[in-house]
């Protein structure tokens, strides 16, 4: 069996929606089980009292990275077929800041707000309303921001290309970065967290 399954024609367009639905539900379920349906838990990371979000997300990144790398090495996964979006440096920096600020203010990121709706959180309902409004506004205003939106395009970049390092070395560096991050995170939790454990 070859992967990516969809690109190798293992299933068609309609089936891909079913698969996406199943993956989406599973993703949401794991987010909820990790406690990410709660705005308190999510925002705690910005006050360095509870860095579970950071730890779970970085664990997911490392797990997926190792999985993709080893599947590619074993010849099961054709890495060049994976979809990569373009790097548009400036708009992506601004977009990241907008998302981050919205995250601190609203208490959710887009995925977790949907998870929170599923468990009946009313603030999440307002949050998703805001997301929808933002999408609509940027869609309507697109001609005005088009130049900026498409600026700083570097095409499809990967870290091994940018750093001129072998793929495997980058994988190792990311693992080291993650482990270092976890150690720091747990230190910060002990330092700043402690008291607010009941939140």
């Amino acid at each position: 069996m070859n992967t990516p399954l969809f690109k190798f024609g293992a299933f068609g367009d309609e089936m891909s929606l079913v698969v996406a639905f199943a993956i989406g539900i599973a993703f949401g379920w794991f987010l909820e089980r990790a406690g990410f349906g709660s705005a308190r838990k999510l925002v705690a990371q910005f006050y360095l009292t509870d860095l579970a979000v950071f730890k779970v997300m970085f664990t997911a990144i490392v797990t997926a990275m190792l999985g993709v790398f080893y599947l590619g090495w074993l010849g099961v996964l054709d890495l060049e077929l994976l979809y990569l979006s373009d790097t548009n440096l400036w708009p992506q920096i601004v977009g990241g800041l907008v998302l981050g600020i919205g995250f601190v203010i609203g208490g959710y990121c887009p995925g977790t707000s949907l998870v929170a709706i599923a468990t009946g959180k009313i603030d999440a309902l307002f949050f998703v309303g805001g997301v929808m409004f933002g999408v609509l506004a940027i869609g309507e205003a697109f001609p005005l921001v088009k130049t900026f939106y498409e600026s700083g395009n570097y095409g499809r970049l990967t870290l091994p290309e940018v750093l001129h390092l072998p793929y495997g070395v980058v994988v190792f560096l990311v693992v080291l970065m993650a482990l270092g991050g976890f150690v720091l995170a747990e230190w910060a939790e002990r330092r700043f967290g402690g008291a607010s454990k009941e939140a």
Partner: protein, 223 residues
């Protein structure tokens, strides 16, 4: 000392050590398979028989009009033929340069030439190099002109056929063409020669290649 270490092997640390080990071993590996591809001839034959190795001119026309940009349209003819006329949004990569053009393998690539043969041969070349997303334009540029730019009016059409032709006419106009009568047998020659006047850019069509039409970016990720 060793005993103390053993006691401290919590679940977290075990996982961390496993990650570290996998990361360290990864330094020896190469995940990209390069251009070594195993060809399954049965699979290729099934693709051809299942008619999934091509797109129809009408489908392509609809994508261009909608401004879809999730494909690369490649004109395999020589540059002068390309300059004379090409399908909007197409880029020119003559057949001989195709293997070294460095097209990304993760995109849908639609190949066309005048007829169907060159494109079909190019399709085979692409498949051999592992371009699983490559397809051909059914009927090539000839088919494009016949079906999209100069659609033939049906003789004694039913209401449904007439409506269909009406839609085809609108599409034809978008690409700077027009309809023609079914009887005009000898006339087709004249039409297809008259055609290469590049699509009228009066219609706000995505006539310029490359830019890829109105940016309708596909977004597939997010936290």
């Amino acid at each position: 000392m060793a005993g103390q270490l053993n006691i401290r092997w919590t679940m977290k640390r075990r996982l961390a050590a496993m990650g570290l080990l996998l990361g360290a071993v990864a330094m020896l590996g190469q995940p990209l398979r390069g251009h070594v591809v195993t060809i399954d001839t049965q699979e290729l034959a099934a693709l051809v028989e299942g008619k999934v190795d091509h797109v129809l001119p009408e489908e392509l026309a609809a994508w261009i009009i909608q401004g879809q940009s999730d494909y690369r349209l490649v004109d395999l003819r020589e540059p002068d033929a390309f300059t004379a006329y090409h399908i909007p949004t197409a880029e020119n990569i003559p057949l001989a340069q195709l293997p070294t053009a460095g097209l990304p393998r993760n995109e849908k690539i639609i190949l066309y030439s005048d007829g169907g043969i060159h494109a079909a041969q190019a399709w085979m070349l692409m498949r051999v190099q592992g371009y699983v997303g490559s397809t051909t334009l059914f009927g090539g540029l000839d088919g494009w002109k016949e079906d999209v730019v100069f659609p033939i009016a049906p003789t004694e059409p039913t209401a449904q056929q007439a409506a269909q032709f009406e839609r085809a006419l609108q599409v034809a106009q978008f690409f700077g063409g027009r309809g023609r009568a079914a009887s005009a047998g000898g006339d087709t020659q004249a039409l297809s020669i008259a055609a290469p006047v590049a699509p009228k850019s009066t219609v706000s069509g995505p006539a310029t290649p490359k830019a890829g039409g109105p940016a309708k970016k596909k977004k597939k990720e997010g936290c």
